[in-house]
């Protein structure tokens, strides 16, 4: 099992490497540069700036420098936020985005799975239809509509929760953003769990479990849950992608100082290093999630374990 894991890990590193390389060269190859936004600079100043940021050197040399600094955990200076390096910017914002993302994922799973199971156990009842209707809403309506609406209801009208803003260590400010972020993956997880649970409950081994006189709760939790979760495990990587995407918007609306807004701002300002740094972070997160999911498959189904 451990050997399998390290093989996958070893495979992931080249993928990351390719992503970094491609991103780097594509950006350098693009027309225009980070300093084109400002008014036309006198050529000497432009040259100075370029030299300061190392842009006057051949592309290969720049690449080499970049890789070296990456190994030191340095993403380079931000072209736009002149007083900060990308590392600093990411360092400040990442913990918040991480907290937001983890909480959203937790809500999506901890609410979605029981909800889907409940719907499956009450198949074709009113409760089933109600649950699945909520799921459609979650899937269809984007977070940048859900969050402001929630904010309007709970913040402006009911005054229960703050509409936007953030304080270190505050949970109240995270409630609405986490909810809005968690809703689409929650809906998917509920739907997937329901479908999969319905199938598993038809299996012969579930019939055996009932025949043994085990109470319903034991049959579901010990016998039915793990096989039913396989499609959910497959969904985890797209779920992370969805949460990352959603965080861009949610952080902007809720005024949370995470790294999501940097990606958008970096794009608009053509801040190379910032966008590059963000791409690396996001890619690492997704690839990492992929590895975790692989381990998860092995745990869910012992047949996979031994085959590897």
């Amino acid at each position: 099992m451990t050997r399998y894991f390290f093989t996958r890990l070893a495979g992931a590193v080249p993928t990351l490497f390719i992503i970094i390389t491609l991103t780097f060269f594509l950006m350098r190859a693009a027309p225009g540069g980070p300093f084109d936004q400002e008014q036309a600079l006198p050529p000497e100043i432009a040259a100075n700036l370029e030299s300061a940021y190392g842009l006057d050197q051949p592309v290969w040399v720049q690449y080499g420098h970049y890789l070296k600094s990456l190994l030191h955990g340095e993403f380079g200076p931000s072209f736009k936020y002149k007083d900060f390096t990308v590392t600093e910017l990411i360092g400040q914002g990442f913990p918040i985005t991480l907290q937001l993302g983890l909480m959203a994922m937790a809500v999506a799973l901890l609410v979605g799975v029981p909800l889907g199971t409940f719907a499956a156990l009450h198949h074709n009842s009113a409760a089933d239809y109600a649950t699945m209707s909520i799921a459609v809403v979650g899937i269809a309506i984007p977070s940048f509509v859900v969050l402001p609406f929630l904010g309007l209801l709970f913040g402006v009208y009911l005054h229960w929760l703050p509409v936007a803003g953030w304080e270190p260590g505050s949970i109240r400010h995270l409630v609405l953003p986490v909810l809005a972020l968690a809703l689409p993956p929650l809906a998917y997880v509920a739907r997937l769990t329901r479908g999969s649970m319905l199938e598993v409950l038809r299996s012969h081994y579930i019939r055996t479990a009932f025949a043994k006189g085990l109470p319903l709760r034991t049959v579901i939790v010990r016998h039915a849950l793990r096989p039913a979760l396989t499609p959910v495990a497959s969904y985890l990587v797209p779920a992370v992608a969805s949460i990352l995407t959603g965080s861009l918007v949610v952080e902007t609306i809720a005024g949370l100082p995470g790294i999501g807004r940097y990606l958008v701002q970096g794009a608009i300002n053509r801040d190379y290093t910032l966008v590059l740094g963000m791409v690396i972070i996001y890619s690492t997160l997704l690839i990492g999630m992929g590895l975790i999911v692989d381990l998860l498959y092995a745990w869910l189904d012992p047949r996979v374990r031994l085959a590897k």
Binding site: P31, S133, P148, F149, A267, V275
Partner: protein
């Protein structure tokens, strides 16, 4: 296969009240966006300085109120909806064309070409599209043609997969072997035999692609990477509305509700259609 099949499907669809209702709402919205301007003469440009950030009301000249600059929200919302729907439909058609062709070729040719083509789709599926768009924006700056290309890129993956699956199974059928044996060219076979038989799933996934695309476009516009001023789609309007949330909530509620309802109904209808035609992804 078609006559009875389609009739069967329509019957099943009609038995699904949610889907029928959703379809009704969609039609109502489309009609409203087209006829709306005639009902209320306010246009999207005029700045009504007397009624800046006015509340909505059926008595006043501005049924849905106005925004910060005094522009009529009714007109702007309907115009924005029109833009969103238009982009949704056009981009969907593009991605359907690309997806169907790609999938049909992959499924028909089979073998290693198919394998390679599917690998590409797998890799692309893993990338969240927004990052790709942001990436291109960094390189090329904001532009509306970029917008169209990236939006079109949203829907074709699923479509290609579905069509490939269908094509693969059709390909196995005997009448294809007969057609090949009688000397028909591949192109002709694909056009005459494969395509008509994949219509069912294509229609279903097309209906589901439209809301995906509308959502993606709104998302981009919301972030400021999509439709630029002075044009506006629902995403842009919502973005403005968020800024004015506490002072003028209708600026958020009107376009937000329109988008929510539109997407919800498109999804419900698409789901209903999928159930009625009993389609599975390949």
């Amino acid at each position: 296969m078609t006559g009875g099949f389609a009739g069967d499907a329509v019957r099943r669809l009609r038995a699904n009240p949610a889907a029928v209702l959703a379809l009704g709402v969609i039609c109502a919205v489309v009609v409203a966006t087209l006829l709306g301007p005639w009902l209320n003469p306010n246009n999207t440009e005029t700045l009504d300085w007397l009624h800046v950030a006015a509340r909505p009301g059926l008595q006043s000249a501005h049924w849905f109120g106005t925004d910060r600059l005094g522009r009529d929200l009714y007109a702007r919302t309907l115009a924005g909806t029109r833009v969103s729907i238009a982009i949704g439909v056009v981009a969907s058609i593009l991605s359907i064309l690309v997806g169907v062709s790609y999938g049909a070729v992959a499924g028909y040719v089979g073998g290693r070409t198919d394998h390679a083509m599917m690998r590409i789709i797998e890799i692309l599926s893993g990338l969240p599209l927004i990052f790709f768009v942001i990436f291109l924006t960094v390189i090329f700056g904001r532009s509306e043609s970029l917008l169209f290309i990236s939006i079109g890129a949203v829907g074709w993956l699923t479509m290609a997969r579905v069509v490939r699956g269908q094509t693969l199974s059709i390909r196995q059928q005997d009448y294809i072997a007969a057609a090949i044996a009688s000397g028909a060219s591949s192109g002709r076979i694909i056009a005459k035999h494969v395509v008509p038989n994949v219509i069912g799933p294509v229609v279903v996934y097309a209906t589901l692609t439209v809301p995906q695309i509308i959502l993606f476009e709104s998302f981009l516009s919301f972030l400021g990477l999509g439709i630029q001023e002075p044009g506006a789609s629902l995403g842009t309007l919502i973005s403005e509305g968020v800024g004015e949330m506490e002072a003028a909530p209708w600026m958020l509620l009107v376009p937000g509700s329109f988008l929510a309802v539109l997407l919800l109904c498109l999804n419900i209808f698409g789901d209903g259609l999928r159930d009625a035609l009993d389609v599975r992804e390949g």
